[in-house]
Amino acid sequence: MLLLLLGLARVMRPVEQRAQAALSAAQSDLALSQIEGTLGQGIILAVLGGFRTILADFSWIRLNAAWEQKAHGELDALIRLVTTLEPDSVYFWINSARMLAYDVPHWRIDAAGGASVLSATQQREIVEEQAQHAFALLARARQFHPLDSKLHLEVAQIYLIRLQDHAAAGEWFLQASQLPAAPYYAARRHADLLQLQGLNQQAYLFLKQLHQKLPDEDPYAQKNIVLERIQQLEASMQLPAGLR
């Protein structure tokens, strides 16, 4: 009996390895050691038993409950849990980063006494610290999704909205625009931010190159908007007609 099963296993091993290879190629590995402390043994069994994604989903719902209660510590632990259980979901990475960068700073400021108690410098430090946490999370996300422009765009938005760092935001918009299936607006935002920094010449040259690459038939490309901006820059820089 045992010999029959062993013989069958020997024959079926190549079949199993092919199927396992197909499965491993499409799914990210589970870094269980990173979250073992957070999980009970029963949960670990369930995770390994094929219920990984549904557990990630339920953990995300728990995370949203922690977010509503402004439970910072629990939020951090659940973000680590969810992104480890299901690193293939960009939705979890982006929304977690948003919570860290946009919401947690306000919780921490309120917990420390509010904007009337903390100085602007102290508030700025908290915002920057949380932004760095969000950047670290998005950097881990990019290990799983190196070609997903949404992650680069998220970094750019945090630099722009939370840190008011136009140079860094512009750089990240540029990187995002160079990735496959990136939205057209990423390149336009890079040019806008160059103008905000007073780098009109660079913005002008960039927009001219961009205009040549944009498709005519795609309304999302907004080629006419890009042309308008080029013309505005030509007028503001008072370029001679021969150089336009």
Binding site: V15, Q20, L48, I54, D57
Partner: protein, 277 residues
């Protein structure tokens, strides 16, 4: 040969009819359908288009979980009912080979598993279609490229799980062939299911173990128990991915499931041949 197949067919048909009347099957089917139907409450969380992913994961987990339970319990009940009611004696007094009896029981239960898996897959596909239609009208930007979901993949997942249920049913019949009670069969079958689901972890672990005896035992377990992890293909299905599921992978899985099912049935027959009824 044709007569043998006919006998298997009759026993399977009778087993299917008996299985359909089982209260446990009705209860589990209703529970599964209700649980799946309740998943539409995910819309309360306003996750946008990601709600569809939640719905899909929930549906797949329901098929996996309830299907596994039903495979074990149904196969055990159908087998032991024949033994306890002594109808097996009457049947085997006729020119019915014990292997035909086991095969008939297996295919009868397996046909019911097909109905169960199909029903859940159909309900999941309907729910996904309904929610995706609503979300497309609500989130014009988020779903600008049209429908995300490949509905055929929902049934492909159901098919892959149905292949796994064949191995579970056959393994349960093998355990039942030497067990004396149905409770023992169910409990041992569940443990075997857990081992099959987790044995890929043991294989990775034994590489680093120093003790050669422990390594040998784990190696042996890895060879005896089929690897159910290869049937967990949910992440490659339904949504656009970089590496979609290849048809050849389905074929390999079918060959894998078929081979192990046959092996367990043959082993069950070896035990059953010498069993006193």
């Amino acid at each position: 040969m044709i007569n043998s197949l006919q006998r298997i067919h009759w026993i399977a048909a009778n087993t299917f009819l008996e299985a359909v009347r089982q209260k446990f099957f009705h209860a589990l089917l209703l529970l599964s359908l209700a649980l799946l139907g309740s998943s539409v409450f995910f819309q309360q969380f306003n996750f946008g288009s990601n709600e569809l992913k939640f719905l899909t994961d929930f549906g797949f987990a329901a098929i996996l979980f309830f299907g596994s339970i039903l495979s074990i319990v149904l196969s055990t009940q159908l087998f032991f009912n024949e033994l306890e009611d002594r109808t097996a004696l009457t049947l085997l007094a006729k020119p019915v080979h014990k292997l035909e009896f086991l095969a008939g029981k297996f295919f009868g239960a397996y046909a019911l598993m097909f109905c169960f898996t199909f029903a859940l897959s159909l309900l999941l596909a309907v729910l996904l279609f309904w929610r995706e239609t609503i979300l497309i009208s609500q989130l014009a930007d988020g779903l600008a490229d049209g429908r995300l979901i490949r509905y055929g993949d929902v049934f492909v997942f159901g098919l892959v799980q149905w292949l796994k249920f064949a191995v579970i049913s056959a393994m349960t019949l093998f355990i039942g062939s030497f067990a004396q009670t149905n409770l023992f069969t169910i409990v041992v079958s569940f443990f075997a299911l857990i081992i099959c689901q987790l044995q890929y972890i043991a294989r990775e672990a034994y590489v680093g173990i120093e003790s050669s005896l422990a390594r040998g035992i784990l190696h042996l377990l890895g060879w005896i128990f089929p690897n159910f992890q290869i049937f967990n293909l949910g992440e490659q299905l339904v949504y656009p991915v970089e590496q979609p599921l290849a048809l050849s992978t389905l074929a390999w899985l079918a060959a894998y499931a078929g081979s192990y099912s046959l092996a367990f049935l043959l082993l069950a027959q070896l035990n059953f041949r010498n069993r006193e009824l």
